[in-house]
Amino acid sequence: MTSQARFVQPPRFATWLVNLFTVPQDDSIVGDLFEEFRNLASRSGVGFARRWYWRQAVKTAASLFTLGWLAAPWSTAAAVLGGFLLAGYVNRLPDKALSVATDRYLMYWSSHFQAYLWLLRGMLIGHIIASLFVGSMVALAAKGREMVATMTLALIFCAMAGIGCLWLVAKTGEIASLSGLLWYWADPLAIVVGGIIVRTRRSPMTAVPTA
């Protein structure tokens, strides 16, 4: 093994990605990847080994996602369903707050329209915070399969948003409606981030890597 290969480390984010999906306290999968990375780096070069490692990490995360579902389908489905219902309730709260605020201070908002626009933007942030909360709750319920449950819920919301936007485009013929998808996908992303936060707090192996 060359001296460079001996000290070179595999991509930290790829390792972090795999650790998000492994069973807590099971380091054998990352150990296998590490061992093969070292061997490849000395035989075929660091660049080749890094590309191989990333490819393996992504495929492994996908396999572990499926495995997580197969290992506990009912409890994972229950966590996802609970998250779906919770999201339906929690995501209405910012809108209710906006409604109360506009009704109570109608005179103020009518004379400060710019401030009202800022309030509307704040609602979007409110939705993202609500989704973070939902993601965290789902991850807490799906212990050991935090990412499986939160990613499934996020994929459901992404699909719903996608179908809704396509339906809108088909009905109105306005392609510009698709740009709204980026906003709609911010909430599912926040759900996944909520899952990552809980997973990271639970398992020291998934501490966010520093560059």
Partner: protein, 110 residues
């Protein structure tokens, strides 16, 4: 054995790799053995997902080794085929032999 307990294609390949490797069978060696003999790239995640499934079926048992420095202080998970697993492999081998018997050169059908 019920039909649903038959080994799938990848399960079958993994079982044969474990039988070949004997007491050297862990994630890295299993993955490399399959790549070497089947010429197809296999992810370590797919290997573990299948091994976990086989362990649940009772065809495979695993044990952990002590952490080693060449693995960054991480342990290895060794696998071995159980008696029930050997029976399952024999059953699928017999079924395949029976199905291919008298077909001559399989390559001529491709």
């Amino acid at each position: 054995m019920a039909g649903r307990d038959y080994l799938g294609e990848f399960e079958h390949i993994i079982m044969l790799a474990l039988l070949r490797l004997e007491d050297r069978a862990y994630g890295v060696t299993v993955r490399q053995e399959i790549e070497l003999r089947t010429q197809r790239e296999v992810s370590i995640g797919a290997v573990y997902a299948t091994l976990d499934r086989l362990e649940k079926k009772g065809y495979v048992k695993s044990r952990r080794s002590d952490p080693t420095p060449e693995r960054g202080g991480r342990s290895k998970r060794f696998f071995r085929v159980t008696a029930q697993g050997v029976t399952a492999v024999n059953q699928i081998q017999r079924a395949l032999s029976s199905m291919t018997e008298g077909l001559g050169m399989i390559g001529s059908y491709s």
